[in-house]
């Protein structure tokens, strides 16, 4: 019966079933009911989605993005509160200011490759620190500071000073 209602019977089988249904009152009633149920269900899908749903979802998304930005900002400056980091950051910033000033004054002479590389290392170290601060929640492990920041910045400082 369901295959007949679904239209999945072959033409021959469908005709055969139709003949049987015509001869048997109970089968006919059940078939009529099955067809009415199928038609009724097919007509059901007309519930329109209200517009406010997408507005509420987008408001949540915007708020989430804003929170994420503030959280990254907070973690970065939270990482700066590690006492061991402060002097190194101060030195790195001082070097960048000095070198940048030197480059502005002596704008005819290009920095050597070693100085350029050293400056890049300082910049990447600072960038790494912000990423570390972001990914390690509220703490920056000392081993990370030592290996990933203090040592590279020290090397870079030496190179810059020598040049």
């Amino acid at each position: 019966m369901e295959a007949f209602v679904d239209g999945s019977l072959s033409a021959e089988d469908a005709d055969h079933f139709d003949e049987i249904a015509l001869m048997d009152e109970e089968i006919k009633r059940q078939l009529d009911l099955a067809q009415a149920i199928s038609a009724g269900l097919n007509e059901m899908d007309d519930i329109e989605c209200p517009e406010f749903i997408s507005k509420h979802v987008m408001a949540h998304v915007r708020n989430d993005v804003k929170q994420s930005f503030f959280e990254r900002f907070r973690l970065f400056f939270g990482a700066l509160s590690v006492s061991r980091f402060k002097p190194v950051l101060a030195m790195a910033l001082l070097i960048i200011v000095v070198v940048s000033s030197t480059r502005i004054v002596q704008n005819t002479s290009a920095p050597t490759a070693e100085v350029t590389q050293a400056l890049d290392e300082v910049k990447w170290t600072l960038a790494f620190l912000s990423d570390v601060g972001n990914t390690t929640a509220n703490a920056v492990k000392e081993s990370v500071i030592e290996n990933q920041m203090v040592l590279p910045v020290s090397r870079s400082m030496s190179t810059i000073m020598e040049n």
Partner: protein
């Protein structure tokens, strides 16, 4: 995304029989989508959305026990099943039948109800339903057969009750 939202809302509205509850569930589903966006496979998104929506509907039904009200004051006869003819009597009978059908749908358990809605109302293929509900294909067909039979029995009982 608007099309997905429409499909999810329609599914949840039929599951819960309550537009306000369906709006809450739909909203929660898309917020979850946002939270899981980095792990989402675009090709399987609608399946994921409907699966999450179904689980949320089941939870909501357990908490709220939302049911459609059956109108006991109106008569209903198998002889007045909706047909292609017009006229106020036939329209009234058609409207009542739809109401009875919705109530009968609400008596189905899971996953029968979900399968009927996905197959009969939203016209998903058996393979898609199998993926959405994580059920084997033949199991989906068996459940659908049982669900249709249960609907026929429920509506027949309702009619007998009306004439008792």
């Amino acid at each position: 995304m608007a099309e997905y939202q429409q499909r999810v809302f329609s599914f949840t509205a039929h599951m819960l029989g309550d537009k306000a509850a369906a709006a809450d569930v739909t909203q929660d589903v898309f917020i979850k989508l946002w939270e899981h966006r980095e792990r989402m496979d675009q090709d399987r998104m609608i399946g994921w959305l409907l699966r999450v929506a179904r689980n949320a509907c089941i939870d909501a039904m357990r908490k709220r026990k939302v049911r459609r009200a059956i109108s006991d004051s109106e008569d209903f006869s198998l002889d007045s099943l909706p047909s292609t003819g017009n006229g106020p009597d036939k329209e009234a009978a058609a409207s009542l039948f739809r109401e009875r059908l919705a109530a009968a749908l609400d008596t189905l358990g899971e996953p029968h109800k979900s399968i009927v809605i996905l197959r009969e109302v939203q016209e998903y293929k058996y393979e898609e339903i199998s993926e959405i509900l994580s059920l084997p294909l033949n199991t989906v067909k068996v459940y659908l057969h049982r669900a249709r039979k249960a609907l026929r029995q429920e509506l027949t009982e309702v009619m007998r009750h009306d004439y008792a």
